[in-house]
């Protein structure tokens, strides 16, 4: 448990140049990922969580810039030129994306898309790579894998396409897998299967996972640790169970209160957090959550609360103060 972290983010920020000005989508985010752990990043739409992953993979949009450090196996991914990044991504660092329907090349056979990475990174022959691809498809439980590998993506259902993506990402046995809302676009019944698959495979290969989602249920099911993001900043961080049992940040508390649970079946009203998330939140002075916070005090709008703690961290002026 005290092993060297596989990924260390220190002060990662992502800015976007818009006609109206600069938008800071990710603000000074720092955390570690340990080998073999599944880390969840939770937040609402627009909280910047996906951009963290894109920044690590060098996939930011043309008007986006990342600053800070992301040490992956000793190298800083931020600012690394694309050619050097290419040796890492698809090999020791992989990503799966949110929308399986559009994330596969419609003009290429599925097996070839899987084999491509192996040919590029390991120099395997086409035949060997294809065999490995079929084996992997089988591993992610695509029925009739050998025949399916010769088909095209539009012949697969959404859930199966996501399995293909998972197969593609894990084929090269990466040390770290980045998953951007992998089940959001899928049917509820399929979601559980896909998540379990990710958990199972990552355990088997020892791959660490960063799982970005807005669905607390997903986090509860899968994650060892969780980070709560709002307005591009980390609000709370800690072991998933601890954070769920007793969230310390008002936003985290609000999120959990807003999640309907079986035990609350008799409660007539759902808790809500008033207001709407503002994507420019990271640019206000003070805590980005202050405008919607039920317990805010004056200090909250003036000074950014720092992330304090060890193993369990919170960014709130009132943390530790009994409600």
């Amino acid at each position: 448990m005290t092993a060297e972290p596989i990924l260390s983010l220190r002060g990662l920020s992502v800015d976007f140049r818009l006609p109206e000005g600069t938008l800071r989508a990710v603000d000074d985010v720092s955390f570690d990922v340990r080998p073999g752990e599944v880390l969840g990043i939770v937040g609402e739409s627009g909280s910047g969580k996906s951009q963290i992953l894109f920044a690590l993979m060098g996939l930011l949009a043309r008007n986006g810039t990342a600053s800070g450090a992301a040490l992956f196996r000793g190298r800083n991914l931020i600012g690394l030129p694309a050619a050097e990044l290419d040796a890492i991504r698809g090999a020791s660092l992989s990503m799966i994306f949110q929308d399986p329907m559009t994330s596969l090349n419609p003009f290429q056979r599925v097996g070839d898309q899987l084999a491509e990475g192996l040919i590029a990174h390991r120099g395997m022959t086409r035949a060997a790579a294809r065999e490995a691809a079929v084996a992997m498809l089988d591993r992610v439980r695509i029925p009739d894998a050998a025949a399916r590998a010769r088909r095209y993506p539009h012949e697969f259902s959404g859930g199966m396409r996501q399995r293909v993506m998972i197969a593609m990402a894990l084929l090269a046995r990466p040390a770290l897998l980045l998953a951007d809302e992998p089940t959001t676009a899928l049917d509820v019944t399929i979601q559980a299967q896909v998540l379990d698959l990710i958990a199972e495979l990552s355990r088997e290969t020892g791959t660490s996972v960063i799982l970005v989602t807005h669905d607390l249920g997903v986090v509860a099911r899968l994650c060892d640790r969780v980070i709560v993001l709002y307005g591009g900043r980390v609000m709370e961080e800690g072991p998933a169970e601890a954070v769920f049992d007793a969230p310390r940040h008002p936003y985290a508390q609000g999120l959990l209160a807003a999640t309907p649970r079986m035990a609350d079946a008799l409660t007539p009203r759902l808790g809500t957090i008033p207001g709407t998330p503002r994507s420019g939140g990271a640019m206000l002075p003070g805590c980005p959550f202050a405008p919607r916070c039920a317990v805010r005090v004056e200090a909250c709008t003036l000074a950014r609360p720092p992330l304090v703690g060890d193993g369990r961290r919170v960014a709130c002026h009132l943390a530790g103060v009994p409600a």
């Binding site: 990044l85 698809g90 090349n105």
Partner: protein, 306 residues
């Protein structure tokens, strides 16, 4: 796949049939004839002419006769050039038109796609702006302005190529082909550029990058098909545009191709010739549309499995 091909051929055949019917009856409806321009003809001569061209038969019979002729490839006699049949006239002009048309499409496609891809990859740089300028000029300035201007500069002043006509081997073809290709270069390059920019935004290109296979492979393997599909789709209508343009080109550069014959026939109301050339052109366009559809089906598996 076979069903796809079959369906396309069937559709093409139907369209061609509709084309023949429409053209035939349009010509019958058109007022005047080559004879109304000439001096008054005596009734006996008129009767003879009517008999020769079967104009005294009921329309349906004339149509049936025409279709029978078509099926054996006989487009009938020309009304104006009494000694020649439509087939003869077309045969004499077709090689010129086909040569110029073919080269124009080839140049337009190759140069257009190259410019478009260069512009998309080097957005907002000098390359892009140059390509864009060529684009605007080609689309906005009409062929019949560029053509004579090109003649004035390159042929009359600089004497690099002949002014027109077909003497002089391949040099005589240079200006007609280039001028004819220009508007299509412009359009194809714009289309390619937009298409490539859109394809670069696709999620599956992002996935390809995430695999770390290198930018070159990403561009070559994952963007070309998506980029070229709309361009290929345009090649069908592009043929029609080339045909349109070739009529102007042949007039400007004095090439005795079928475009010129068509204009003359129209001005002189030589209906069989007008019809014959119309059907020929229409058939070419339909053929090209079918071919490009088939090509798209080959490249895009989603289309095949409809």
């Amino acid at each position: 796949m076979l069903r796809f091909i079959g369906k396309r051929l069937w559709d093409g055949g139907l369209t061609l049939a509709a084309l023949v019917v429409l053209t035939f009856f349009m010509m019958r409806l058109a007022p005047g004839g080559p004879f109304s321009k000439n001096r008054k003809i005596s009734p006996e001569v008129l009767a003879n002419i009517q008999a020769k061209y079967h104009l005294d038969e009921p329309v349906w019979q004339q149509f049936a006769r025409y279709v029978r002729g078509l099926l054996v490839g006989d487009l009938g006699p020309s009304m104006r050039f009494r000694d020649y049949s439509v087939n003869d006239i077309i045969a004499s002009g077709l090689p010129y038109s086909l040569t110029i048309g073919f080269w124009a499409i080839a140049v337009a496609a190759l140069v257009g796609v190259a410019l478009g891809i260069a512009g998309a990859l080097r957005r907002n740089t000098a390359t892009d702006y140059i390509a864009g300028t060529v684009g605007v000029i080609g689309i906005a300035v009409p062929i019949f302005v560029i053509g004579p201007l090109a003649q004035a500069v390159f042929a009359l002043r600089l004497d690099w190529v002949p002014v027109g006509g077909i003497e002089g081997g391949w040099r005589a073809l240079v200006l007609p082909v280039l001028v004819l290709a220009l508007p299509n270069i412009a359009y194809i390059s714009r289309l390619t550029r937009t298409s490539m920019i859109e394809t670069l935004r696709e999620n599956y290109v992002r996935t390809a990058r995430a695999k770390g296979i290198g930018e070159t492979r990403v561009i070559l393997r994952h963007t070309l098909t998506g980029t070229l599909l709309p361009v290929i789709a345009y090649l069908g209508p592009a043929t029609a545009a080339i045909i349109t343009g070739s009529i102007l080109i042949e007039t400007i550069f004095a090439v005795p191709g079928i475009g010129r014959h068509f204009v003359d026939a129209a001005l002189n109301r030589d209906y069989p010739l007008v019809m014959g050339i119309t059907i020929l052109y229409g058939g070419l366009v339909i053929l090209f549309n079918v071919l490009t559809d088939l090509l798209r089906g080959w490249l895009d598996p989603r289309v095949r499995h409809e």
